[in-house]
Symmetry: D2
Subunit: 223 residues, 4 copies
Amino acid sequence: MSDYGKTFESWRGEASEAWSDYTRHAFVEGLRDGSLPRHSFLHYLKQDYVFLFHFSRAWALAAVKAGTPDEMRIAASTVDALVNHEMPLHIKTCAAVGIDESTLFSTKEEQENLAYTRYVLEAGYSGDFLDLMAALAPCVMGYGEIGARLAIEATSEEYREWIDTYASDEYQQMCRDVGALIDNAVASRLGALENSPRAKTLADRFEVATRLEVDFWGMGLRG
Amino acid sequence: MSDYGKTFESWRGEASEAWSDYTRHAFVEGLRDGSLPRHSFLHYLKQDYVFLFHFSRAWALAAVKAGTPDEMRIAASTVDALVNHEMPLHIKTCAAVGIDESTLFSTKEEQENLAYTRYVLEAGYSGDFLDLMAALAPCVMGYGEIGARLAIEATSEEYREWIDTYASDEYQQMCRDVGALIDNAVASRLGALENSPRAKTLADRFEVATRLEVDFWGMGLRG
Amino acid sequence: MSDYGKTFESWRGEASEAWSDYTRHAFVEGLRDGSLPRHSFLHYLKQDYVFLFHFSRAWALAAVKAGTPDEMRIAASTVDALVNHEMPLHIKTCAAVGIDESTLFSTKEEQENLAYTRYVLEAGYSGDFLDLMAALAPCVMGYGEIGARLAIEATSEEYREWIDTYASDEYQQMCRDVGALIDNAVASRLGALENSPRAKTLADRFEVATRLEVDFWGMGLRG
Amino acid sequence: MSDYGKTFESWRGEASEAWSDYTRHAFVEGLRDGSLPRHSFLHYLKQDYVFLFHFSRAWALAAVKAGTPDEMRIAASTVDALVNHEMPLHIKTCAAVGIDESTLFSTKEEQENLAYTRYVLEAGYSGDFLDLMAALAPCVMGYGEIGARLAIEATSEEYREWIDTYASDEYQQMCRDVGALIDNAVASRLGALENSPRAKTLADRFEVATRLEVDFWGMGLRG
């Protein structure tokens, strides 16, 4: 099993059906066996660039809401990883097919894209650090889980670069760091998760965000 | 013509296609001629109750971001109108068919519903008072426009109570008050809207929110 | 004893020294025996008008962060009470000595005033509903406690109108309502306060806000 | 003259008296000629560590509110510079006199410290990107201006390390980058600053934050 922390394990367990719909989505299987049409992938990639811009904003919000220097450092590092490593990969891949960054940034947001990022940001603004973490976790950890699995199971080289990004040691380490961050944040704010009245609210947030990931893949396929 | 202010006129003009899709939607025509299936209306009403809860939160955010006592008073009055007048109507209508408030409040949010309210709230949190107004205006004024038109054009009594709510003097006055609030807020922050670099961003926000209204009606029909 | 809820009792107990400095401040004693110079009172009243504007924004933020219809209703009612009842009293009292509302609103904020309201608002924005409640409680309940005591102990009629405002049944009821709101919010989010890892953080917030009240009285005396 | 951008020049010009009180404060002169008591410097340094934690949160909020990838990158880099370069210097200097980071982090915030950081954060939350920039600028650019001047005028080696930090090429470059960020943000949101109705509000924010810097030095001297 992955080692992304016990809070994540609990949330994934409670959202198991949605989690499976997300991490075993037809889009993902298309990345695995190379059958995903290139135009769908490019449509996804352009939307994902806009997604990452807002997702970076959400991680910056985690830094704003940090309660300790450690929380601050991990959130700030994650923003840096997104802005200076993950987004440039999108820029590079798109540049290779003739799409420059300003075109990317002005991509018209699909409704599934908008729904997801605004849900995450609003959870962070209206709730606390944990509400934000529960909404951020499905994307971070789900891509880690998909990357790790496809690195083993892929039967095509077509989407190898994408797979390698999320299967990489750096990305997997980030998932473990974020998992530990969440476990510590739960401990210092709620104590034992299972005894907290907030357990259900947080698990619900995680599940809603997971469902929004499913819609995002669907949007990709439609492109 | 309605008299909801010149900023609203400008925004509506720039989003005319989306505005027409919204205010002339099949759902609206079903309210007009009574052909809307009752179960669709109830589905809509339950979702709209959850919508109004978040929409009230968004108007409360306008009070938080108020720059003058007048902005504060209008925003606070609007929250009061939503919480103590518009929501109770939903509660009453639903109670009549055996749905109580706690059931209403725990209605599972459809994705179109979630997308819309989180978009509005996030616009308010991340932007300024005007970003929030541009995202709030389509709902407030669109319902005013629809109510006023259907009060004249309705060919059925089936949805008369709904129509009367939004055609009422009170609701129409609220639309004019909000329109004046927006005009004043633009004048004191931007000067002439047409000369401001933010004109396009704000018009875009209005159009995106209008499109989310179109999706909301579509969700209603699906129910 | 007052009946402002058990969470408030706990917070007040942990901040007892600060609470006494606040509720037994020389400014308060001057209201009681009428020895407070009129110019100090007017200085305080003008600052307090600006304070109430920002304090109303903070209560509106509580409505934004409400998790249930009940939390929404109480927060919205409190905004209404502040904007439409407490602030008009300040406007009326100041008008009687020739200060109009626009002069009031443009009063230059003293640093002690700014420090307090921004602390409360930031607690609400960065934290959750409970962080905001812990920062709001000292003002609401402290004025209730002072008003109730001075209604009995005052030896002068000089500041009777001020005393009556906070000793009134309406204000005392608001304190009890807010106290119940806080008790319920703690129960639904933390369970038993004394077992929660957040107990200390929340008590600290309450104490910091109480200290900022002490500074506010000191600012009043200086005027 | 420094080259921190034309918006900054304009704001500094309008707040010239407060700016002089800040950048020519007795605390600063004590750093210049080495007469500042060591215990005052250490008191300042401990408070400044807590300040930087919240100031980093405020820069992270700028990333949340970024409207373009460029605004995002500069804000994210500034958070990184604060968290991974400026704060470690404080930790190192304090460690040398036996104060570890957890002691530093639990330093009881002085009221002048709290007032300043909450003012900046609240400006960012309630306003827009420009409100936040106007509140952040006095600290960033003031330290740059002080560092550059003292590097030339210092008559003692006592506080050389502090001076060198802010006189350094890296820090001066950051001031220029932030100045350009602000100029661009004004252009894309307001057009010409001098024609905007917001010019006065923004200049006021800058002046209030500058006055809070003056109070911060005063707090340092008191220590």
